[in-house]
Symmetry: C2
Subunit: 234 residues, 2 copies
DNA sequence: CCCTGTGAAGCCATTCACAGCT
DNA sequence: AGCTGTGAATGGCTTCACAGGG
């Protein structure tokens, strides 16, 4: 058994599953705070976040003992602790690469700058887009990528480029010092150790839904119709 | 121990984690097929999909024994089997509700209609947007939601509406018969049993990246600076 | 001999249930 | 009396390692 600090839970090594839920709790807490609610029980907060209360308590216990037995959690205090744990008490400069429809939508997304994230640069390869002003920022040519990333101290890059360009752009942002990437291109990116990639993929999400949808309707189709019939024309 | 069919693995009950990876394998297979590759080993396919080969083989084993020992998997055959399992051999009609920046980006997304998904309806509440033509479809007023969903046989809805409207829109699409929802609004949706919801949330993804980014830089900030200083007035 | 398919082991996450603090 | 924090139990997923077919 691993020995821990005597004083409660100053534990480095928060489970990944917990980390993924902290932002959800944080949002729920902000909503409660806006309604002027001062204290919340694990039961109530769990309901607001769409999880069960045991999971919520276990998750929060990884950060420390921030609740009061018999009472619950102080909303503002928990907001602060989760924000600090997630690294939102400091500002992160974010660059968006690729300003097609999706990139523009992301650039215009409000809740973005709201907490901890500063949209610091927009980059695109298309001369027709370069120079355009979007949400108060001028789109720079991707040739300046290395320069811009270094100058603005950007550590997080959002890739909204075509699939065919994604790996090359990824390599360049990594070479420039970016260590976190949010990838919207439908490709598996290869990065060195120490670089984190998260993927958002509409098409994959739809396919997962289709699987469950089909299941509700009673198992896969084509069980009795042969593979060769199906490929035939294809 | 659960008794299984004697004949290998015609197993209903594919693990959720596997289902989530099947679309990735499918995309990798399509890429291989485009390059004219006929046969692939688990090692090669796993590399293309960004997983290890043991996981890939275990995943595929849940669908059946579609490989050949000593050889590998036939690309086209595997494409067909995974497509069928995911329910992509039939067409699904999808509605997008909310045609702000994000909704437009989604509506214009090509790889969408590509395999199995037909964009069947666009809906919005804003009179300035209703009537507009996007990607060959006319935006309908959200008043017609129930009508459109029933008529077009829509079972999957994509919500790209403001957070404040999301639950209400969700309730309406569910009442109209939709049983799968892809939610881009930053709220936790409540739905009846039997309805699947998947969430895509830019802000959450960024916060998860920030957590790891902060960790690389050496643990949470503000450990030695007190909570009360930070909130000040509180 | 190569590569798949799979028991078995190990690891991580969720859930239960209650001791202990307020 | 109420609610948190947490050991212990459970269940699911990943990884190992190899039996067995081609």
């Amino acid at each position: 058994m691993t020995r821990r600090s005597t004083l409660g839970a100053r534990n480095r090594g928060i489970p990944e599953a917990t980390v993924a839920r902290l932002p959800v709790y944080l949002r729920a807490l902000h909503t409660l705070a806006d309604r002027g609610i001062v204290t919340v029980s694990s039961e109530e907060l769990a309901a607001a976040a769409g999880v069960n209360s045991a999971k919520l308590r276990k998750d929060l216990s990884h950060l420390g003992s921030y609740g009061t037995r018999g009472v619950g959690y102080e909303v503002q205090y928990l907001v602060y602790q989760i924000s600090r744990e997630l690294g939102l008490t400091q500002d992160w400069s974010v660059a968006i690469v690729g300003l097609g429809n999706l990139g523009r939508a992301l650039a215009g997304y409000g809740g973005f700058a709201s907490r901890g994230f500063r949209m610091a640069a927009l980059l695109d390869a298309d001369p027709a887009i370069v120079g355009e002003r979007i949400n108060g920022l001028t789109v720079e040519h991707i040739d300046k990528l290395e320069h811009v990333i270094t100058d603005c101290g950007i550590s997080i890059a959002v890739l909204a480029v075509p699939a065919s360009a994604a790996q090359a752009v990824c390599d360049r942002v990594v070479a420039s010092g970016v260590t976190s990437i949010l990838n919207f291109a439908p490709v598996v990116l290869t990065v060195p150790d120490g670089v984190d990639v998260r993927k958002v993929d509409l098409s994959i999400e739809l396919q997962i839904l289709a699987f469950h949808e089909q299941r509700k309707a009673g198992g896969p189709a084509g069980v009795e119709h042969e593979y060769l019939e199906a490929v035939d024309g294809q």
